[in-house]
Subunit: 207 residues, 2 copies
DNA sequence: CTACTTATGTACCGATTGGAATAAAAGGAC
DNA sequence: GTCCTTTTATTCCAATCGGTACATAAGTAG
């Protein structure tokens, strides 16, 4: 129905003039800008300059600024933000937590990417123009917490988390740490400083 | 030297036409807007409308948008953000941590104020226009961490924190939690959910 | 070839941006 | 009363905002 990513027709090349840029690469460029500047502080000029396309091409391929951000967020989830699902694959709750927090530090302090987390700093505060994206990111963060809670429920069932543990509360505790690490990374705190926080957490982890 | 807040002259009323608005009240109005929308997403029109003054009055009294933000941040530190120094007055490190985190939750979920923390969401991401404020807030956050570290050093000296504890690392751990709580508050997470996180922290606190 | 479809660059839209110029207004000093 | 200082509201500024109209270019379908 909606070939927003330039999917070809039923056979061979699509009709009309072919797109002169790669949509995925353009999304990566847009991601870098939104990630570094946030949604509202990013202008269409910033985007078209980074993506190296004109405004009509941007609107034809991605809709508008807000829809572009949604596509960027999806791509972020499957790219830089994918450490969460990988961490959940660890065998025990303790290993999940350590992998998740270390993944947070690594991703939010990657030298070749903006510091911090797109899902946190993309629109933490917003005017009326940005409230839709603000709410989108709040839901994105809560979704991550929910999946971590599910993983902790499994850990209780599997016995590597005490039966009196509260998976929901533990998940919120770990997400609190992850968001806090992202805030400090956005402020330029060094990677090894943040890894020390993870060490402290694991020392006090009661499992 | 700089009577930015309308301080009177050496005796009696200052010369010239008297200011028709209260600067502190105007700063409170500006604080609410910056707090809710962030620095870059806030326009001069938003500010003058909330402060109920004209643009020339704003510039005459506060300089420009960035200087106004600096004054607002100072006022925030002495107002809503003052729970930090109060928490540091608690007798033991454990009580300091609990008071600090509970103060964070209370302040960032105050119903009559914007949700979250001005020092976190004021400019977590920024374009070139906002990088000065971004750096200002990063320094503001690091300063808070430094003061918490000092308090933990005192706790080690006083014996209510183990002598092998790392005050710097502990301070960063607690600040990580505070920032993470602020992020979730900004996203609309309910106050009691965040208090549960504080409970979890205090259960695992090793002192 | 012609017809059709899609993407592109240029130019443009009204609205808004942060900020300044200007003159009138409101007070004290004398 | 006349000066002088400061604040005020109105007006204006060039630049930029997100978004669009339009003509042209580049491809497929027949």
């Amino acid at each position: 129905m909606c070939y927003v990513l330039g999917v070809a027709g039923t056979q061979g090349a699509p009709m009309g003039r072919p797109r002169e840029f790669d949509t995925d690469e353009a999304l990566d460029r847009a991601m870098e800008v939104f990630w570094r500047q946030g949604y509202e502080a990013t202008t269409l000029g910033d985007l078209t300059a980074a993506m190296n396309i004109g405004k009509p091409s941007l609107y034809a391929a991605f809709g508008n600024k807000e829809q572009l951000f949604r596509l960027v967020l999806d791509r972020y989830s499957e790219g830089p933000g994918s450490y969460g699902v990988r961490a959940a694959e660890q065998p025990t709750a303790r290993q999940v937590v350590e992998a998740f927090l270390k993944g947070t530090v690594e991703t939010t302090t990657q030298p070749q990417c903006p510091q911090g987390c797109l899902g946190v700093q993309g629109a933490l505060a917003a005017s009326d123009d940005g409230v839709a994206v603000h709410d989108l990111l709040a839901a994105w963060r809560e979704r991550a917490r929910g999946e971590l809670e599910l993983r902790f429920r499994r850990a209780v069932a599997e016995g590597d988390l005490r039966s009196d543990a509260d998976p929901g509360r533990l998940a919120r505790y770990v997400m609190t740490l992850s968001f806090g690490l992202a805030v400090q990374a956005a402020g330029g705190v060094a990677r090894d400083e943040l890894f020390k926080v993870v060490d402290e957490v694991m020392l006090s982890w009661r499992s």
